[in-house]
């Protein structure tokens, strides 16, 4: 922060005369971060049975935030046992009472949303603008939405007396730590299940803070258990014999491994996996709106979004116009301190993820695609990646086929709607797609043809708890959100 004196010498940004002044959110708003954390089992914070500890770092500064436990098989065992014990009473509780606990949790999340947003930004690297305006409001909304279902399950369309499954083992990724927690825990509790949740090893802090919220809400002990650790802990949880339901959000390879692991068991499984969404821009689209949608589609959350619009399919006749406008817009994107309220693109979540993005973009260049990024300075420490555009991409290129999970957009072109559909569907994934055109009948035709669980027309990356989300093909099975999201936690 001693740089303030240098301010006058800084060059005027290309994007305009007036530079934004720094508008930092206070890291202190995140509340106290302990130096080390254990698990949350049976309503208590407990030490791990093992001695191994992992570190979670602030990806914007590389500073260690806290140590946390590498959950052992024994830890998982304890957590599942606690959830099993709690299940009897929790599932027998009238839905109207379960509802009130969920409403309480939703309210406490709202009350503490600034704290949670700042903590999320610090642990994850995503901009405060997004945690504050997107993640946290959606997290609270999910608990509100499913709270209302808890005493109305007879009306959900799954028969007159739908039953919970038992103990749910839930493993979530690092890209939306609290939101994924809400997607998993809210419907599970509403339907009368108890849960053991494992947050990602790079972002455990907000899940552990959520455990405190469960305590504040007076949630019965053992209904929610949080066990931290890496993939080994996750595997112990998903393969635990006393887990009745497994819910996983993450990469397709891991999802595939879990599906294999669960073959031949009676455990119910839902998977939200990878994607390689096509964002399709027709020549009659409102270009400025489309460019905003393209930017939101791929640079939201540093591109760490399974449904990110990572393949831009632009109609050949407007390619130059769209790309010029897109580059102009990308020039204005502000990369840097996630806690600055003006930051558009924060830090890449981890060194490992940065390495993967770097490797795949290098492959893009090596395979002949043309790379472009706006000129912007990146901080010296932390994990950063400039918003990146690849043109001249063919369908065979790795950057057009593999999920990059970073701020990297591959541009392909098409001439006819049929060709757009053909290219959009030419992937083993099927999570999401975008369509930009002013022609209503074309939107509906495209929406019909696209093999994707979510189709955003003239918008992108919109989420809502009432709205089912999930993929076709190798993007996984089951839906989260909405009435459909209840099915994953009911014996139907």
């Amino acid at each position: 922060m001693a740089k303030n004196t240098k301010k006058a010498e800084e060059p005027v940004r290309k994007s305009g005369l007036f530079e934004y002044a720094p508008a930092p959110e206070s890291p202190a708003a995140a509340g106290d971060i302990a130096t080390s954390y254990g698990h949350f089992i049976g309503g208590e914070f407990v030490d791990s049975s093992g001695s191994e500890a992992l570190k979670t770092v602030n990806p914007a500064t590389e500073q260690v935030l806290a140590e946390f436990a590498q959950g052992t098989e024994e830890d998982v065992d304890r957590a599942v046992a606690a959830a099993r014990r709690a299940f009897t009473d929790w599932s027998a509780l009238p839905g109207s009472e379960r509802a009130k606990y969920l409403f309480r949790i939703a309210r406490i999340i709202q009350e503490r949303s600034r704290e949670l947003a700042v903590l999320e930004s610090i642990d994850n690297g995503k901009p405060i603008r997004e945690t504050r305006d997107v993640d946290l409001p959606l997290v609270a909304a999910h608990f509100f939405y499913y709270a209302g279902w808890a005493d109305k399950l007879d009306f959900a369309g799954y028969g007159s007396n739908p039953r919970p499954l038992g103990v749910a083992g839930q493993v979530i990724p690092w890209n939306f730590p609290l939101l994924m927690l809400a997607w998993k825990i809210a419907p599970a509790l509403a339907t009368g299940n108890t849960v053991v949740l494992k947050p990602a090893e790079t972002t455990p802090l907000t899940a552990l803070r959520f455990a405190e919220i469960c305590r504040q809400a007076g949630l019965p002990k053992g209904v929610v258990n949080i066990v931290t650790g890496d993939g080994r802990t996750g595997a112990a949880l998903t393969s635990h014999p006393d887990v009745n339901k497994v819910a996983f959000t993450g990469s397709t390879p891991v999802g595939r491994a879990i599906a294999k692991q669960l073959a031949g068991t009676r455990k119910k499984l839902s998977l939200e996996l990878g994607g390689k969404a096509a964002n399709i821009v027709f020549d009659d689209a409102p270009i400025d709106q489309a460019v905003e949608g393209i930017v939101n589609g791929i640079f939201f959350n540093q591109g760490h979004v399974c449904c990110a619009g990572s393949r831009l399919l632009v109609q050949e006749s407007v390619q130059d116009e769209v790309l010029d406008a897109l580059k102009r817009r990308m020039d204005t994107l502000r990369v840097g301190d996630p806690l600055d309220k003006n930051t558009d693109i924060g830090a890449i979540n981890s060194a490992a993820q940065l390495a993967r993005i770097t490797e795949l973009t290098a492959a893009g260049e090596a395979e002949g695609a043309e790379r472009w990024s706006p000129s912007c300075d990146l901080p010296g420490t932390g994990f950063w990646f400039k918003p990146t555009l690849f043109t001249g991409v063919s369908q065979a290129h790795r950057i057009a086929r593999e999920e990059i999970f970073g701020p990297v957009l591959s541009v392909l072109t098409f001439r006819t709607p049929a060709e757009a559909v053909e290219k959009a569907n030419n992937t083993p994934y099927g999570l999401s797609a975008g369509v930009w055109t002013e022609k209503g009948s074309r939107i509906l035709w495209m929406a019909n043809q696209l093999k994707a669980g979510v189709v955003w027309a003239n918008t992108f990356n919109k989420f809502d708890p009432t709205s089912p989300f999930g993929g076709y093909k190798e993007s996984g099975y089951g839906r989260e959100g909405g009435r459909h999201g209840l099915e994953a936690y009911l014996d139907v």
Binding site: R256, A257, A452, G453, V455
Partner: protein, 300 residues
């Protein structure tokens, strides 16, 4: 096959049903199908892995047309199947009686139930979107609609056991999958494939486009693993995969299906106890559907 008649019966050469045609097996081989007393009934084609792959190709080719037709039209076609079966009631009763070693009366009741099941699913084609779809009241100015769509190609291991499995059970697994716009490749019950192969003849004359249903007889351990591992199969119904070990066993097939993240229906804990006359419900109808949610802004 009356003993006292001087007239020699004309026996049927049973064939596979693939892509709307009746090919012999690529293997050039057949296997003996017998009744429960070991009495020879007929030879059935010994369908192979290659036959199964050909059938998947046919099923894939049929997806676009079948899923693209209107739900109303699909209902008409399914009802047409019931109509055509009605006229062949006696033939199927005889085949079911022989396949399951039951009396003519019971067999006829099972065939009638199977015909009625086509009628039940015919009525579902244009209603499933109404019970599985949703308008979603999102918090913002958006039009937001969730609609069900077929998964694509479904591999079906037909029931091998349970009361009524050979025909009513078969219909109970095929009809819901195609009612929603999927196409199927069916591994017929290995020991009782004749009603299934005859069903192919009915389907071929029921306005059902070729390739929507493909029926393979043969060893389940050849056909089922091919379906489970096939890259171009989207769903797998393991109802008939009841062997506790070997390559036709359910757990192994499910593990194989995980490579391509197929949607899987697991077999009942005790498939032998399954009574196919039970009311079907909507489970099978909904198992091979995807929910697609479409968003659009609202504004002027």
């Amino acid at each position: 096959m009356s003993e006292t008649s001087t007239r020699l019966d004309v026996l049927k050469t049973y064939k596979l049903y693939v892509g709307g045609k009746f090919p012999r097996s690529e293997s050039g081989r057949v296997y003996e199908v017998t009744d429960s007393n070991g009495q020879w009934l007929a030879n059935a084609p010994l369908g192979t892995r290659k036959d199964t792959r050909d059938a998947v190709l046919a099923a894939r080719a049929a997806v676009k047309g079948w899923s693209g037709t209107t739900a109303y039209n699909r209902g008409q076609v399914l009802y047409r199947v019931a109509e055509m079966l009605q006229g062949r009631r006696e033939q199927f009763s005889a085949e079911v009686a022989a396949a399951e070693n039951i009396g003519a009366k019971k067999a006829t009741a099972l065939v009638d139930a199977a015909i009625d099941r086509w009628v039940w699913y015919a009525g579902w084609t244009d209603k499933v979107a109404q019970i599985a779809g949703n308008g979603n009241p999102v918090a913002g100015p958006f039009f937001n609609l969730s609609v069900p769509e077929p998964s694509g190609v479904v591999g079906v291991v037909a029931p091998q056991a349970g009361y009524g499995h050979s025909f009513l059970g078969l219909v109970s697994v095929i009809a819901p999958a195609i009612a929603t716009g999927n196409t199927v490749v069916v591994a017929a019950a290995a020991d009782a494939p004749l009603p299934a192969l005859s069903l192919g003849e009915v389907l071929a004359t029921s306005d059902l486009p070729g390739g929507v249903v493909n029926i393979i007889s043969g060893r389940t351990e050849d056909i089922a693993p091919t379906l489970a591992s096939h890259q171009d199969v989207n769903g797998l119904d393991l109802t008939g995969a009841i062997a506790s070990d070997g390559s036709g066993a359910a757990a192994g097939l499910e593990a194989s299906a995980a490579d391509t993240l197929k949607r899987v229906i697991r077999p009942e804990l005790d498939p032998f106890a399954q009574d196919w006359t039970d009311a079907p419900g909507t489970d099978r109808l909904l198992s091979f559907l995807e929910t697609k949610t479409v968003w659009h802004p609202i504004g002027i």
